[in-house]
């Protein structure tokens, strides 16, 4: 063996290997922490990572993942984590983990240091495709207006319809104003079209002159008559062509006139939107069941839902969809052809097939800590290759009486993503659940036990969440005395019950998030409210509607006046031109008939003359023959 090889290659190689062996654990630890922080947006800390070579496996003593929304808490914390990598696939640059053991998982632990990391600049949001969290904020802003006035005397006093109605803001009024401008614009087009048609008047005059120049009485020969018929035919064709052009344009104008009129019909949704807008401005209360439930529970429910929307959005963006993006190629002069052979199975870049979670205890921080266990399956960068969705199944208990389950599926195996969540919480003791709002029955449920079931379905950009909650063993405290009849009714009903059932549904159809809230107390509250203030509210509603209808009728009249005027103008000009062209057609047709009659009579005359000549000749010859015989 050569000495130089030992000194210059072998010894440096051994030294390098020792350095790598000593520091590789730290390098891998830092790499995993950095990758985790990039995904979560908060600190990810791993303690005592160790790499083993046979089998290739990684093990660490502790993992903490900070909560980006509350940096002094962890999303979760674990103790020992261990996983081994498939060596065969590792050589191919793929990280395949059969099972990852995650022991002693504790959710929501406190941190001793802040988990904050500076956030990278967020990519600009697509205004046409807002996330669910943004949609929720818009929805809450729309729903949580000031409370309507339930005090009838105050409502009557403040109800000044004329000052509330800003007609320019009414969509129906805007609609007729737009239509008026459309009519004026369309009439310009009609005028232009008619003017274009009228340019052909000179051609009609020329045709008339041609026809008038033909004097049938001057025709001496049939050939002359035939030539003139040919001339009249050409004129007839010109006039007919002009008529065809005119008919096409007249049809276009008539259709346009009819379309403009048809669009004058108001859509019921536009009218409803105007009525609702003015009723809300007047603070006339919505006595339907949903209106009162929104006031009573909406604020708290929306705030709670908003917290979780962030995570639904997060799952939508963080779990990778597969976008086939070929790598840029720099082909060499002749790089050969890679022959593909059948593979046992294809693997994505990374794939953790199974994560087994076992819960840990957290008595120090929370005597009623959450203890649970579960499985996370098929975490990968490309579900199209694995063909299976990411699933989570978790079951836990908190204290002695509370149970929690969480199941989720994140499907990216098809072109349209599909996320599904199911969760249940049973026996949750709560002592701080705000109800009402500052201007409607502000209060608090000081003690209650809640059972909640949630099902969230997110197919593509759609969203459908159904939440059912049972509140039981409830104690209520109200911040102040009721200020009006409706507050009094709702309060007396709530005070008489120890619990109720709440159903909430958030859904997204046609790109707009909507919400429905209902309780089993709604019908009771609405019926009693209607009894007390319903008649007065209905009268005020009628007044608002009548006022809006009056204004709409006025605007409709203005539109119809302009429309009828412009329509009459264009129809008059069309009729005038129509009469003119019909006259010319009739004149040409009459001349043609005159010529044909003349030819016919000329033909008859010539036949009769010939006949007479033949008869005379025959007579002459008979006379001659007779004379010859007699001689």
């Amino acid at each position: 063996m050569r000495k130089k090889f030992v000194y210059y290659v072998l010894i440096p190689f051994v030294i390098l290997s020792v350095v790598v062996y000593l520091f590789i654990d730290t390098w891998i630890e830092s790499a995993i922490e950095s990758a985790g922080e990039a995904v979560v947006g908060a600190k990810v800390e791993i303690d005592n990572l160790r790499l083993t070579v046979n089998p290739i496996a990684i093990e660490f003593a502790r993992l903490q993942v900070a909560n980006p929304n509350d940096v002094w808490k962890n999303i979760f914390e674990t103790k020992k984590v261990r996983f081994s990598l498939n060596f065969g696939q590792l050589i191919r640059g793929k990280y395949i983990v059969e099972t990852m053991e995650v022991n002693d998982v504790v959710v929501g632990t406190k941190r001793t240091t802040s988990g904050f990391i500076p956030k990278p600049p967020e990519p600009p949001k697509d205004p046409n495709n807002p996330g669910l969290a943004d949609q929720m904020k818009t929805l809450v802003a729309g729903k949580m207006n000031d409370a309507p006035i339930f005090d009838l005397s105050l409502l009557r006093k403040q109800f000044k319809i004329d000052s509330l109605l800003n007609y320019r803001n009414l969509k129906s009024v805007q609609h007729f104003d737009t239509l008026k401008s459309q009519v004026l614009e369309a009439s310009k087009q009609w005028d232009a079209t008619i003017a274009d048609v009228e340019k052909s008047k000179q051609q009609l005059k020329d045709a008339e002159a041609t026809v008038r120049s033909i004097d049938v009485n001057n025709i001496k020969k049939i050939d002359d008559a035939l030539a003139l018929i040919d001339k009249v035919d050409k004129t007839y064709k010109t006039v007919k062509d002009l008529n065809a052009t005119f008919v096409t344009r007249r049809t276009a104008i008539t259709d346009n006139v009819n379309t403009v009129y048809a669009s004058a019909k108001l859509a019921p949704s536009v009218l409803k939107s105007d009525y609702d807008g003015v009723l809300a401005l007047a603070k006339i209360p919505d006595l339907s069941t949903s209106g009162l439930t929104h006031l009573l529970l909406g604020k708290k429910i929306f705030a709670e839902a908003d917290k979780y929307m962030y995570w639904v959005d997060y799952a939508q963006t963080a779990i990778p969809k597969y976008f086939p993006k070929p790598e840029i190629e720099y082909p060499a002069r002749f790089k050969g052809q890679n022959i593909q052979f059948p593979v046992d199975r294809a693997y994505p870049k990374w794939w953790i097939k199974n994560i087994a979670l076992s819960g840990g205890e957290d008595k120090k921080q929370d005597p009623e800590y959450l203890y649970g266990k579960g499985q996370v399956k098929n975490v990968t960068n490309n579900q199209k290759i694995t063909g299976v969705p990411l699933t989570i199944a978790f079951k836990g208990t908190k204290g002695e009486s509370r149970a929690v389950t969480f199941d989720a599926m994140f499907d990216r195996t098809k072109d349209v993503s599909h996320d599904l969540y199911k969760a249940t919480l049973e026996g949750v003791k709560s002592g701080d659940f705000t109800i009402g709002q500052s201007d409607f029955l502000p209060g608090k449920i000081t003690k209650m036990i809640t059972d909640v079931g949630v099902k969230v379905d997110v197919p593509g950009t759609g969203f459908d969440a159904v939440i059912g909650a049972d509140f039981r063993n409830m104690s209520l405290v109200f911040e102040r005395s009721p200020r009006n009849d409706v507050e009094r009714i709702v309060r007396s009903i709530l005070e008489s019950v120890r619990g109720f059932h709440l159903d909430v549904r958030f859904w997204n159809t046609n790109g707009k998030l909507d919400v429905a809230l209902a309780t089993d107390l709604d019908n009771q509250i609405a019926a009693r409210t209607k009894q007390v203030i319903g008649e007065e509210v209905a009268r005020l509603e009628r007044e608002v509607r009548a006022k809006i209808d009056e204004k709409i009728a006025e605007k409709r009249k203005e539109f119809e006046k302009i429309y009828e005027q412009k329509k009459a103008e264009v129809e008059g000009r069309i009729r005038e031109y129509e009469t003119l062209i019909n006259e010319k057609i009739a004149m040409v047709e009459a001349k043609k008939k005159e010529l044909q009659d003349r030819i016919e009579s000329e033909k008859n005359k010539q036949v009769n003359d010939a006949k007479k000549k033949v008869e005379d000749e025959a007579k002459k010859r008979l006379e001659g023959l007779k004379k010859g015989i007699l001689k």
């Binding site: 063996m1 050569r2 090889f5 290659v9 060596f87 065969g88 050589i91 191919r92 060499a332 002069r333 002749f334 790089k335 050969g336 052809q337 890679n338 022959i339 593909q340 052979f341 059948p342 593979v343 046992d344």
Partner: protein
């Protein structure tokens, strides 16, 4: 200048020093590396053999350079040869398939037609190159050396001012 030194060393070695077997061995192993179009696992093995065995490294370097330069010309031939071995020989297909699924196979890039063709070609050429080079070294040392030194082209190059300047610079502080 680095290459000039290599060529000078190579010519010196041709003249005297290491045995014809060592020079031919280095040259033949270098030819395998030179003909290979990519850096592959089999190339690492050849490098290790080259470094472990007492063969001439200058000859190997010259061979790597020379064969890498001419390998491009033979690329179409290697492609056809590789395609024939990988695709047309039906009886070998099960072997290639199992190799394709074997853990270390991706590092060999064996399924590339040019890699397969050039490697196969280099293995076939190994013995002819080895014996050819050995014969050439022996012949050079006995007959060709004096004839080449008498050739005008050799004298022009050796008297070239650039080469002389290089030799002076090289020899400052003693010849290595």
């Amino acid at each position: 200048m680095f290459w000039l030194k290599f060529i000078t060393n190579f010519i010196k070695i041709l003249r005297a020093g290491q045995t014809p077997r060592q020079i031919a061995g280095g040259f033949a192993l270098g030819s395998i590396l030179g003909l290979s179009p990519h850096f592959t696992l089999q190339n690492i093995v050849i490098w290790v053999i080259l470094l472990v065995l007492d063969v001439n490294l200058s000859a190997a370097t010259v061979a790597i350079t020379a064969f890498a330069l001419i390998a491009f010309i033979f690329d179409p031939l290697f492609h056809r040869l590789g395609y024939f071995i990988l695709v047309d020989i039906e009886s070998l297909r099960p072997f290639w398939t199992s190799l394709y699924n074997a853990p270390l196979a991706p590092l060999t890039k064996f399924n590339n037609t040019v890699v397969m063709g050039s490697f196969f070609g280099a293995i076939i050429l190994f013995l002819p190159v080895y014996f050819g080079m050995k014969q050439f070294v022996v012949a050079y040392r006995t007959h060709l050396h004096t004839k080449i030194e008498k050739m005008k082209i050799y004298q022009i190059i050796s008297k070239n001012s650039l080469v002389q300047w290089y030799q002076r610079v090289r020899d400052i502080g003693g010849v290595s």
